[in-house]
Amino acid sequence: MSQHLLSIDDLDREGIERILDRAASFAEVAGREIKKVPALRGRTVVNLFYEASTRTSSSFELAAKRLSADVVSIRAATSSVTKGESLKDTVQTLTAYDPAAIVIRSPHAGAAQLVARWTDAAVVNAGDGKHEHPTQALLDVYTLRRRLGALDGKRIWIVGDVLHSRVARSNILALLRMGADVTVSGPPTLIPRGIEALGCQVAPTLDRLEQADVVYVLRMQNERMHEAYVPSLREYAARYQVNAERLKPHQLLMHPGPVNRGVELSADAIDSPQALIAQQVEAGVVVRMAVLYELLANGPAAPGEGAGSEATPEAVALA
């Protein structure tokens, strides 16, 4: 694994599998009463969030804490970023604290790449604009792999607002790397022109949805209606809502959250036994632990740092 996790493009299949295997070993730790391992003791992880986020920021925070790192979480609304400080100045200020990692969420594509240029810390992209959200894709693949085993040849449909979705882009890339067959489906106004160049198929309707092994539904934001991407949420729901009627018993259902009940998903679909939504959230912590561990503890040790490459989390936990 490279020094940073900016994009799923930073990982090959083997790299993804290594993180997922590591996450699986952390899942055991999560089952214990004391859920901490000392792998990152004495090291600092900065969470820099320029966008509202509940599950991503809390799971990164928890992941770093369970690895015994010191955690500083900065929200745009409560820091000097609202006073007009540039991203570069903020990153250079934070870099003065000598963090081992900076986790960044930004409304702008490429923000994580820029941060990586301006700091020696490992940088983890926690979502940059509509570009990528690699840890979400990793936790989704983790969740699916636990349920299905290998994803080779599995047919996965990603349904909804692909145009504005970083989750969709990272998932398309990660799922294809894992050997899955990916189809995106949604209103033509919300499917980016040229998306098939990534290697996925495009289906304008859900007519063939029953072919899917997994239905991955994206969040449909209200403002898309005002921007005339869809005439109404009512019409959107009529054509693209995944509900008990469209979801077949053999299919699994996923969603990155937060869900708009009654829009992209019906309540009965959300509450169906096929839904993996809760498992996805649960996977968030262990997968992010694995990402931080692979970047910080398992690579070449930083000068003067104790965490050696030999240490498995198990060994570290027992130490």
Binding site: S86, L87, K88, S106, H108, A109, G110, A111, Q113, L114, D128, G129, K130, H131, E132, H164, S165, R166, R169, P192, R193, G194, I195, A197, L198
Partner: protein, 445 residues
């Protein structure tokens, strides 16, 4: 009535003998080594190599192995003055032009305040007469404040020296408004130079709409945003028998539209920029804001169409759209960065390296297209001929340099070619009869 339309600071007329230089000017049918004598700022004699004696008091430049071209003319630059002098000034912008081998450039009006009134134009031309190293022409706005709602006082502006008019940076969205400007052109003359973009199609786009924007999740600017406006405005120009010039064409569809309307007899012309001729949207995968400009870098098919258009004459001239921005303004995420890249100092070397050396365009054609902008604006074309003012650029085509390694003459460094090694070193530039640029070394006094 003859109105002055190019403005520069006075400088001592050159007294110079260029000995044994390879003179290449397709318009003068020159393509061989010659001695070229410049006296009192004009080309006094062109003789066989080694034949001309150096008059007392004149500089001698040993030009063996070097090429002498007519200096270039750029119909499209942003000098950021007044109001944004932290990006560029008349002094630094014209120094950049001199360093790039230009003898004339045309400044766009999207300054702060907008260049849209005669008093402001007069103050700028006076400013240019104090500071500009290279002659500068000004194109005031078509509409007041570039707002697209009221025509500027075009007749008075023409009397004050306006070369033509443009709302560059923005399209004239209303067809009715552009029609009025075309009608008024019959009174005042002056080309209307058009930035073509339909804002209802380009939206908040930051790059070309295509497979790369789909991958990056960034809002795209589709090619049809430009080409539909080229088609509309060429039709309006034809209907009103007016003259329009299409700025920075970027896509196949625009080149096709321009060719079709030319064939139909419309008085339309077009320009292409070095970055659109040499780069594609693939460069944006780096997420580097130096590749952000409007119109955006498009696909390889678009790039090839621009090259073909330049070759067959559909596109008459090359314009840099030199658009300086301060480093802190560009050191932000791609979507946040301002549009625009610098171009004056790299235009010829990048075209020579990426189009001439690989055999895509002949050298003579590139020289022709880099000087043709003057005639489109009713200005004399830079030429190498006895009696002509000395507008000359001396180049070492075998020389290499790394873009940005020695900084820039421009105030800004937002070049999309930074770090590239290019062939073609500008050794000496003469503009309006004066030496305006000398490479720091190698030129013998």
């Amino acid at each position: 009535m003859s109105v002055q339309r190019l403005f520069h600071a006075s400088a001592a007329p050159a007294e110079l003998l260029l000995r044994g230089v390879h003179v290449l000017d397709p318009r003068s049918d020159l393509d061989a080594p010659h001695d070229v004598l410049v006296r009192a700022g004009a080309i006094a004699e062109i003789g066989a190599p080694g034949a001309l004696p150096a008059p007392a008091g004149s500089d001698v430049v040993e030009g063996e192995g070097l090429h002498l071209f007519p200096a270039f003319f750029d119909p499209h630059v942003h000098l950021r003055t007044p109001g944004q002098e932290h990006k560029e000034t008349l002094a630094t912008g014209t120094a950049a032009a001199a360093a790039g081998g230009y003898c004339g450039i045309v400044a766009m009006p999207n300054t702060s305040p907008t260049l849209d009134s005669a008093p402001l134009l007069r103050s700028l031309t006076a400013h240019a007469e104090r500071e500009a190293m290279v002659p500068v022409g000004f194109m005031p706005a078509i509409t007041v404040g570039l707002r697209g709602t009221d025509l500027t006082e075009m007749a008075e502006l023409r009397d004050a020296g306006a070369l033509g008019f443009t709302d560059d940076g923005r399209p004239v969205v209303s067809a009715g408004m552009l029609r009025r400007a075309l009608q008024y052109q019959r009174l005042c003359g002056g080309v209307l130079a058009l930035h073509e973009e339909d804002p209802s199609l380009s939206g908040h786009g930051v790059m070309h709409e295509g497979t790369v924007s789909a991958r990056l999740g960034m809002e795209g600017i589709p090619s049809v945003s430009e080409s539909t406006m080229v088609t509309r405005d060429a039709a309006l120009a034809a209907y009103e028998q007016g003259r329009v010039h299409f700025q920075h064409l970027s896509c196949v569809e625009s080149v096709e539209a321009l060719a079709a309307w030319k064939a139909a007899g419309a008085q339309v012309s077009g320009e292409a920029s070095p970055h659109h001729l040499t780069l594609t949207d693939e460069a944006v995968r780096s997420l580097d804001s130096r590749f952000k400009m409007n119109p955006p870098l498009r696909t390889e098919a678009d790039r090839q169409a621009l090259i073909a258009g330049l070759r067959d004459g559909t596109i008459e001239c090359i314009a840099t759209d030199h658009a300086p921005h301060a480093r802190h303004e560009k050191e932000v995420p791609f979507e946040e960065a301002p549009m625009g890249v610098t171009g004056l100092e790299t235009a010829f070397p990048v075209l020579y390296t990426d189009l001439v050396l690989p055999g895509l365009l002949p050298l003579e054609l590139v020289i022709e297209r880099m000087t043709a902008g003057a005639a489109l604006l009713d200005l004399p074309t830079p030429r190498i001929a006895v009696g002509e003012p000395a507008n000359l650029v001396l180049l070492d085509l075998a020389g290499e340099w790394e873009v940005g390694a020695r900084g820039y003459a421009s105030t800004s460094g937002n070049s999309c070619f930074e770090g590239r090694t290019l062939h073609g070193v500008v050794r000496l530039t003469l503009a309006a009869g004066a030496v305006v640029h000398r490479a720091p070394v190698e030129v013998a006094a």
